[in-house]
Subunit: 373 residues, 2 copies
Amino acid sequence: MKLNRKTFLKGLAIGTISLPVALRALMSTGHAQDNSDSGTISSKKYNWKMVTTWPPNFPILGEACQLYADLVNQMSGGRIEIRVYGGGELVPALEAFDAVRSGAAEIGSGASYYWAGKAPAAQFFASVPFGMNAQQLNAWIYGGGGLKLWEELYRDFGLVPMAGGNTGVQMGGWFNREINSLDDLKGLKMRIPGLGGKVLEKAGGAPVLLAGGEIYTGLERGVIDATEWLGPFHDSMMGFQDIAKYYYTPGWHEPGTALEFFLNKGQYDRLPADLKAITRSAAGHVNVWCLSMMEAKNAEALVRLREKGTDIRAFSKEMLEQLRLYTEEVISEITEKDPFAKKVYESYDAFRKKASDYADITERPFYESIQII
Amino acid sequence: MKLNRKTFLKGLAIGTISLPVALRALMSTGHAQDNSDSGTISSKKYNWKMVTTWPPNFPILGEACQLYADLVNQMSGGRIEIRVYGGGELVPALEAFDAVRSGAAEIGSGASYYWAGKAPAAQFFASVPFGMNAQQLNAWIYGGGGLKLWEELYRDFGLVPMAGGNTGVQMGGWFNREINSLDDLKGLKMRIPGLGGKVLEKAGGAPVLLAGGEIYTGLERGVIDATEWLGPFHDSMMGFQDIAKYYYTPGWHEPGTALEFFLNKGQYDRLPADLKAITRSAAGHVNVWCLSMMEAKNAEALVRLREKGTDIRAFSKEMLEQLRLYTEEVISEITEKDPFAKKVYESYDAFRKKASDYADITERPFYESIQII
């Protein structure tokens, strides 16, 4: 990966600009060519477009999309060719969901909290502040009924969802003032989207919406006092270590964000059984690959940040406990209004409690007492 | 899964009995049928045997093998049919490696520490006491150079390895006496195989080798004072909660054991590109599925164990710290004698240190402060 901050930000900017694309024009192209079958394996070919919410060639998350396309292409012997588009290249990043619904593209990649405005329940399949981490979320999705609920929700939109990656526990963000207690959040202008932003608001802070390409300048010029992004790898590519004083842990607002692939259901349903299995299994493979790459690259990037003297601080337990209570309020406000969101969150939270109790005798003591270098 | 302890143990017993199978007779069957090609997709069919180290139909780990077979079958449009054999059904469990080497079977499933006698380096791809957990081990395998080393090692045996699951952090085991300090391990007869057993020996304990089907009776009759197995789900199926006083955490000896698929390299190399990709990608999918199921089923089983009043205890940090020092001795003795084991462990341990430092600001604070119910 030979990306510097400048080309990286350029990519980000493209990812957030709406290109003038006529969706209708797209709808007439790119669908299955009707070739003749031979034997048990249909040789019908599919030329698919994947629209993503990531900037073009975005490290790891965008690469995961290309890996998915490559795997599907290889496994299908070239019968499914998927061209991957970064956000803004074919449709704006946050129109990926609608583009796949409409059939303008056959498949999309994103994180389901982007679609909370269309379906509040969607965000619980991506990340919940003080919720589950990657391992627990996958356990709920594959082994705790999560996927079934996710499929039920997306069915109404004519889509088929598949888990396709995870960021792992994110970092709490970059700050230009010390955050010792809840008081220090009052009036804090922080770039933090989604549920995390709503929680910050309850704590007296001011969540600010800034696209990826605008964050660096915003932080440098004091338009914002703080920003969250992902973890050491992506954050240091953004250059935040050069303009912010403190790097806080943990990312309470995103303890393990799941990435998704979503397929147009009509397209998916018409696939022969072998290609259906291929589109599903590739997502499973990319799921573990993506989390593994996040872990590997973040661990390496942290070494470099420490060498440069980055001041890493931890939020106090008292503050986190208060933010957790605000999170419960924010979630209640969502589930009170939307019965399906309530149903999904009840399943999520019941599983979380069991997984958390199990972690208390496995992963937690592992990290506490085994992992001492 | 409708298994009770009796049928479960019966399966276990079969898994450890050597059936009189003539390997040579097997070698004449089951290879590729040479059908004609049609278009770009070869319609050549493969009838494969998968030999496993797991008892027949072993929950989750054996099911993962069947899932692999099903996925490969579906994705290949029936071109690769894999029949899964439990340990002892075709060859004894611990002869799976040699059966695939010889071509008697095309693919095997196990954990690479079973082959430490053939190649000491192999065990570092499965589990190391006080080593990496599932997430970290996957990160090393996919993103830290681990897989390349694993492939290099297995190449000498004519095999292709693929990560295909993980148990997660295991439990420390079932004891009939309190373990408060290292002194309590002296003279302790415990069923604990592999590196963990060697570490126990250094602490003055007596590791005992018992096949799965013999553990319950051994513990009940006092032949052993303690045993480790897996986690709440598999352990409670064994019925240990009825005959042991204490259930200790954490499983310092197996903080996340990787499961593997290994393919006969000659067979693999002759596959067309699409089927090669299918055999690899299915393993990646099964990898995340298996860990997810372990987490989900263990979390559920723990609820039931707690309801039954199981006395769950934690090893002291002081004792764990001592066991960790003994572990370093055990590993040094291995790496001093075997240059490739040294090379692999150096890669493993360098990655572990980075991953551990990264976990200190992500997963550890997550489990400590976020995951409070």
